[in-house]
Symmetry: none
Subunit: 574 residues, 2 copies
């Protein structure tokens, strides 16, 4: 038997802690650029962004805020939300300032003042350095607490230390009392309980992935450990009063209750893998810092989804082929909102939505049960073969449109760029929004740094493989010597043992395949560099290395996956 000792599995995120400080300059420079483009209205970001700047800011904050959060999950136990963060110690050296006075400082011209826990801060000079961009201006003249409650990344000591440098006064006792009277409840306080096995990449909004070795244990990922990627607080949706609005079709607006969605349309079931665009971003981070959550290899999972076909609902709402002459996209709006009321949004091509073989669902079931709150209760879009970001959760509105979603996440995020493109040169309009994802695979067992006993004589390697656009994985090659020689893995495409199932119809292979190889330990080797690469039925293959596919957002990280394993001789055994 193979004995694997996973020495580093518990410190897997350790090195990232040390990276945190290297990150700051890049973040600051980005913030400066953003600020200048917003204020001068001359930057491409601002131009590209137009009227929906709120989306942009929300997304940026959700995205870039994360940079500061690397490695935070170790402190998760210590993590506190705003209500319990220690108050900065007051000193009598500061003047007393009224809320009325604070309120007059809401512009760069008159200065940007904010309050926090009874202190008054002039953050005018900090605005340009704020990693979350000028969203900080939303708090100008008022209290920080409600915003920090939304983006819990701020709840760290060094953030408080930074803030203390800008202190200019104490808020009058009377105004402090008034502030307390106003509810500043934590918008994440109603987020659901989560499974403790999850590796948390960000707590608020919640982003977490399962341990890789659990992932490859089951063809269908249990919902509790299915990777979770929220952009905003989980909305509290009452199923009884839930309404789904379908707009942009000749029949006018169609509104459906959950009951109507379930009863008016046949229920379809598909097994589909969802993957975050940022899956395996941590490997890009090792090449050069990128902006985004530091996902490992498990921002991907596979579930069975049940629901109405989007095609059927669109037909009921008045869709006919001539609509396709003027409309090219189907936009989704979530019910999850930021403090400004901006909802999460994304869109998919109309032909994916209406094609009989597109298999897009308005899903109300996940793995045979109501969709859990973290995955979009009561209804989410499931767009098989398409990047997770377009599988909009807590679905509130569907709009058939000539245009893509104007949301930040469609326009200015989730796009791929050349390794030579940086935040100073990037033009988000130059790249298409990610829809179908490229061929992907990774090794779940053994983990990097594991130790194999020589006496075990062989090593078993396991992993997953998947490709976007319904392209079926047809082969996984595994190497034990860093890619010099290769063997073909056994694959399975169901829960039923190792036998491969029959191929799905062409272009409709929505589910991953799990794979496995058991091979003799090479006689002389003291270390194995295990590598995997997958091939889909368009014979697309994974690129060899990370640097040539590196991009500033760290998306689409699909190079060969590599883990190093030490072979320990028996006589080294204790």
């Amino acid at each position: 038997m193979l004995l694997l000792r996973r020495c580093h599995s518990l410190t897997r995120f350790g090195p990232l802690n040390t990276q945190r400080h290297q990150v700051t300059p890049a973040v600051v420079s980005c913030a400066v650029r953003l600020w200048s483009s917003s204020s001068e209205d001359g930057g491409s970001y601002q131009r590209a962004h137009g009227p929906s700047w709120r989306h942009g800011l929300a997304g940026l904050l959700a995205g870039t805020g994360a940079v500061l959060a690397y490695g935070l999950h170790h402190h998760k136990a210590e993590q506190q939300d705003s209500s319990t963060v220690q108050t900065i110690e007051k000193t009598s050296a500061f003047p007393i300032i009224s809320q009325e006075e604070v309120t007059t400082h809401r512009s760069l011209e008159h200065g940007i003042w904010v309050t926090f826990k009874g202190g008054v801060y002039d953050i005018t000079k900090f605005v340009a350095m704020h990693p979350g961009g000028d969203k900080i201006l939303l708090a100008a003249g008022g209290a920080l607490e409600p915003f920090w409650a939304l983006y819990a990344v701020h709840n760290q000591e060094h953030v408080l230390e930074m803030l203390s440098e800008y202190k200019v006064g104490e808020l009058s006792a009377e105004d402090v009392k008034k502030q307390k009277a106003i509810k500043t409840s934590d918008p994440y306080s109603t987020d659901p309980e989560r499974h403790p096995a999850l590796h948390i990449n960000n707590l608020k909004p919640f982003n977490a992935e399962p341990p890789p070795e659990l992932l490859s244990d089951s063809f269908i990922t249990p919902s509790a450990i299915f990777f979770k990627r929220n952009h905003l607080p989980v909305p509290q949706v009452d199923a009884a009063s839930y309404q789904l609005h379908i707009e942009g079709l000749p029949g006018g607006v169609l509104t459906l209750s959950l009951e109507e969605l379930k009863t008016r349309f046949p229920k379809h079931t598909i097994t589909a893998t969802l993957q975050c665009a940022g899956n395996r971003r941590s490997e890009m981070n090792k090449v050069k810092q990128v902006k985004g959550l530091n996902w490992g290899i498990a921002a991907i999972s596979n579930a069975t989804w049940g629901g109405a076909r989007l095609r059927d609902v669109l037909l009921a709402a008045g869709y006919s082929p001539d609509v396709a002459q003027r409309a090219f996209h189907v936009q989704f709006e979530g019910l999850d909102k930021d403090v400004t009321g901006t909802t999460y949004g994304a869109s998919i091509p109309l032909n994916k939505a209406v094609n009989e073989e597109g298999d897009v669902l308005l899903a109300y079931e996940m793995n045979g049960q109501d969709i859990p709150p973290d995955h979009g209760y009561p209804v989410r879009a499931v767009v098989p073969g398409t990047v997770g970001a377009r599988n909009v959760k807590w679905l509130g509105k569907i709009i058939v449109s000539a245009e893509e979603s104007s949301s930040h996440w469609q326009q200015n995020d989730y796009k791929g760029f050349s390794p030579g493109t940086d935040w100073d040169t990037v033009d988000f309009k130059s790249a298409p929004a990610i829809q179908e994802l490229p061929i992907q695979s990774a090794i779940t067992v053994p983990t990097d740094g594991a130790v194999v006993d020589r006496s075990s004589e062989e090593v078993t390697v396991k992993g997953y493989a998947w490709s976007g656009g319904g392209r079926e994985v047809v082969r996984v090659d595994v190497s034990l010597d860093g890619g010099k020689t290769w063997q073909v893995a056994q694959m399975r495409s169901s829960e039923k043992g190792q036998a491969p199932g029959p191929s799905p119809p062409p272009g409709r292979a929505w589910a991953w395949k799990l794979w496995e190889v058991t091979a003799p330990l090479p006689a002389e080797a003291q270390e194995l560099e295990i590598v995997c690469k997958a091939v889909d039925n368009s014979y697309n293959m994974q690129p060899d290395t990370v640097p040539p596919i590196w991009n500033l957002r760290g998306v689409l990280s699909n190079a060969w996956h590599r883990v190093k394993v030490e072979i320990r001789e028996d006589d080294n055994e204790i």
Copy 2:
């Protein structure tokens, strides 16, 4: 301006000639193996292959026989066409020169001689002045007529006047006579005349590709230099008696004449790139010997095709959606036959054939004219986004079936395998027939080994990029330093200058994009390793290197393309 001297262009096939002798044993050994497996009925090849062994031998011959034909292309220069250009007046002042003598003048070192209408011209000194650059060298040692026929700009009086200044002799009467085609009785004797610019990889059956630098000259490849990949002799088809049979549908057999195909169904036109599965095979051969024609980078071309939609014809023949419950493939049979009477055959998935967005044509026009004999006159299948091998030429029969084509080319060829799979272990049943091809790109200018003058200060790199399955190429990255740093190329997707056209509908980007980068020469570099890699809108990228995608048939060769260019310092100039 960049001055490129392609010192080696004329000897490009030289090394391959020397390889020929190395190749022969491999071919023999393979044939022996095949034979023994046929006779002993013990080989896996035979088992997989069963009753259709004739296909196997035919395919093998078509594939490996090619290796023997390297370098023949120079003799093609004897082909002539009936140009409208006036004959230059002969004078007796010039010596009589044999074709043999002309043929020895094919380099700057030995002089560049060409023939035109019986005259012999030494154009060595003109080469540097040629407005079309060193493409003129393609005619070196042979006749100008076929090239001038392709580029009608030459058909002007002043061009003839210029040429007359370089006259050095008269071609011998005997050689003038020989230039007129020699008829033989072999099955290829009725093969059409071909353009002498083509690099011939195999003469019988005819397999040839254009020079790369011509390929990127025009968005639409002229039919004369469109790559040609025949598996058998070109059949002589009489358009008046031509019949297309459609079988396997409830309505029984439908038979259509060419006239009926043209008049009963609306004519559709698409621009689609076709690529041979073996394009760029020569790069795999450099890693380890593979079996197949040694294609360079130009077994790919782009044309406009006109014809009836296969969908429309199948509907007329009785196709309805319930047929899809029992039939999954559409088989094509060509009218080209081997000596045993076996026809070329292949199949495509039924959903590609009947989908409104599949755009499969029964084409009778290529670039606005009747399809030329080499490309399938009078009717061929054009299956856009799909490997060339399924675009069956000289189409005789269409069969809607539960099974794929049983032909050698569908079952035991045109499939991809792991680099670790060899001829002893290969199981052709284990891999799917290639249909959609993966992302591809290559550098057409400069060619490998070109020399750039330091004084030119910059280098212009050109190439093509394409992906299968209708996936649009969204970016091409170019590196001058072997892949360390990258810049983004300008792309064009039409004949109209450099501006990119609007994107085609999702999944229907059938045509390639041509791309170009002009970059400063790096100050210190003495050599450039130019690399390109493309990205499609599923964000699939080309793999970095050849060895990990090497496979025994040398198909699917789509690693980054690399060319080395020498930078010559000015003081080295003569």
